[in-house]
């Protein structure tokens, strides 16, 4: 490769992303059906649904690549519902895109809308109208983790493709292949550990692989080291100060640090806390783990409804301070024998 390839490096999740449908090794059924669209140069609107890191976005890009060739991005509008500011912005972009030139031998262009399930029901209604309005020149590919969050009228206008969780051996053989390409030393237990922590999410797995490789070789200890380092220390600190010290203000400081300097959303923090409370390194009564998990779910639900991150997570901290009260009393009763 060129000097550039030797000196500059990319994220492996990008470097090893399949470019064409042919290169996609799993999701065989889906790939077969998509290849028919390529052959016929025609397709309906599509809805790709499934867990993160199962190849939805990759398949959409590969499909466009196979339809239009190397310059496929000229004929595809990429949008991410989480990053666009509202349906009006999306409408304007789609409108403009619909006016642009059609490719020579395919009668439509593609609008790719990622994380479509993050749109409100109202925005989805507006989206449905958009899909109808420009159907003569565009096809939409919607991508969602939870198909049930896509409104019925949109679902019924789309061919739905359900992406399933990747099999362990598929993930591991891909990771192995990357390692041999990158001339990185890896062992099976290290790769298995990556599969465990990434929960079948290929993108996550490859990202962790790259970080572990940067530490030297891919083995169990490096994998856990990477995951540990990538988990902000403030998460555990926050749990400790609320639960075991009953210090709400200190816990809230940590919370703010997570939100402001790490840029984590309330839901991100809740998910990390959820992992943390079942960790054996946190010592608390078993029933309390379950009680906290239940409350985490409640808070996440409120956040999904549009509530404020800081206020809802403060409510969570207050709950932790309360739950921890008997623990703190026990700890105190032991050394000092009261009045």
């Amino acid at each position: 490769m060129s000097a550039r390839g030797v000196l500059a490096e990319l994220l492996w999740a990008e470097k090893y992303r399949p470019r064409s449908l042919r290169e996609i090794v799993n999701q065989e059924e889906i790939v077969k059906r998509l290849q028919v669209f390529v052959k016929e140069k025609n397709m309906p609107h599509l809805l790709f649904a499934g867990p993160p890191g199962t190849g939805k976005t990759t398949a959409a890009h590969a499909l466009a690549h196979d339809l239009y060739g190397e310059d496929y991005r000229l004929y595809m509008l990429e949008l991410n519902a989480s990053d666009e500011r509202g349906i009006d912005v999306i409408r304007t972009k789609v409108k403009e895109f619909a006016r642009s030139k059609l490719p020579a031998n395919v009668p439509f262009k593609i609008v790719l809308l990622d994380e479509a399930d993050n749109m409100t029901a109202d925005a989805q209604q507006a989206l449905r109208r958009l899909m109808e309005m420009y159907v003569d020149v565009t096809r939409f590919i919607l991508i969602a983790n939870y198909p049930s969050k896509i409104i019925e009228p949109i679902q019924s206008r789309c061919a739905v493709f359900r992406f399933t969780q990747l099999k362990k051996e598929d993930v591991i053989s891909r990771l192995k292949w990357i390692c041999s390409n990158e001339k990185v030393v890896c062992d099976d237990r290290g790769l298995e550990a990556i599969y465990e922590v990434s929960e079948g999410d290929m993108r996550k797995a490859i990202n962790i692989l790259q970080a572990a490789a940067a530490l030297g070789e891919v083995n169990v200890s490096n994998v856990y080291k990477v995951v540990g380092l990538a988990t902000p220390a403030e998460i555990r600190a926050l749990l400790k100060s609320a639960l075991f010290e009953g210090d709400f203000l200190k816990a809230r400081d940590n919370l703010r640090k997570l939100m402001v300097s790490y840029g984590l959303s309330g839901v991100d923090i809740i998910k990390q806390l959820h992992r943390e409370i079942f960790s054996s390194e946190i010592n608390m009564p078993e029933e309390m783990r379950v009680e906290i998990a239940d409350y985490l779910g409640e808070i996440q639900f409120r956040l999904v409804e549009g509530a404020d991150d800081e206020i809802q997570l403060s409510a969570l901290l207050a709950k932790l301070v309360l739950l921890g009260k008997p623990l703190r009393q026990q700890a105190q009763a032991k050394p000092t024998k009261v009045k």
Binding site: T58, N207, Q210, V260, S261, E305, A318, K319
Partner: protein, 473 residues
Amino acid sequence: MSQERRTPWVVKYRPSRVADVVNQEEAKKAFLSWLDSWLRGKPEKKAALLYGPPGSGKTSLVEAAAREYGLELLEMNASDYRRASDIERVAVASSRGASLVGARGKIILLDEVDGISATADLGALDAVMNLISRTSHPVVLIANDPWDPKLRELREVCLLIEFKRLTKTEVKRVLQNICRSEKLDCEDEALDFIAERAEGDLRSAINDLEALGEGFGKVTYALARSVLGYRNRELDSFEVVRRILTSKYSWQARAAASQTDLAPDELIQWISENVPRQAVDPEDLWRAFESLSRADIYMARIVKSGSWDLLAYASDMMTAGVALAIRNPQYKFKWVKYGFPEKIRMMSKTREIRQVRDDLAKIIAQHLKCSTSVAKSEVIPLLKVIFDNNPEYAARLALGLGLSDSMIRYLSERNGDRIVKLVEDLKVQLRETLLGGLESSAKKEAEKVKPITKKVQRERSRSSGGLESFLKK
């Protein structure tokens, strides 16, 4: 009565020594050590950007320091920036070494740089950048709001020095001193009033004092109130929150809320900030936050549904709901110190770093075709691990992704500078491999002629197109 024209008090009582500048110890230290590094000939950054609320002592400090160090102060105001040619004139003067001008060194002071309008004063910002790169004298920029996006390039080349808002006590102390030396009869209450009203702006407080003293010969509370007028807010926000949290009955809490002009979404922040200070008992704390959480949910529903009728319930839950949740009499009525909502303060304090982080997330999202929130929660933490542990590899990644220097430093405090250096080395290697032979020496020659613009261009290409556009040039 014809009096001879007097010097305005703000000029008359300007601090003549650095030590006389009120408070701002941290800023003084940072500024003086920067100035010292200039005098020793090795400044890390050629310019310093002093920022902070109006009347906090930014210009005063520069003037006092110039006097103490025996430096000539070359001052330019915002109106001068409109003509790039004027800045050019200063730049030429300042690019000459101190030895040519004589024994005296200079400080170049550009006031109100945030007043430069990015569109109207086209070229002015570039001229300032150019000035900084060519100067052989310390350049000081002053701004109230340094986080304006148009000042981004400037921020990168400046040492940022923050000035804090002065407290009421500090402002009052200065006023007292002036009263003493003017032999002015001042009521203590009146000084309190002026200091309070100034909100940390010492300049405006001195102006107010002068207006009263010169106009009436004495400063009384009654005069101050009637001449200077009272601020709009019926009740101080702290007082409103205190009344709400210590209410015994729901009507009390609701009434207190009606006496503020804080919007509901501000009020809820004020309450949320201070609830834990009053509600010390864990039971109370939890109940109070459950109630606030309900209020917050109603507010979210208002946004979602547009039905403002729900505001009544949101308001009830954040006032009466919280008030009645705090029950333990041991803490309920205790006087505790409240605080300004930290969230609001933090957001403005960390604007710069959040901007860097968000730009970084956008680059990653583009490469990995994911959302910026996935980039932030999943990818950036792993990149940090790489950047902290393997600088050589990190540099190659930074080059491949087209990361800016500030992004690299964000990813690793420990290795930031080293990686930036490594990236520079890689780029040199890359250019040499690509151009080879004659072409490369021609390029080097070109660089010698215009090193500054080259650097600016490189900076730009890095932030916009990354490696691709870098290579095209």
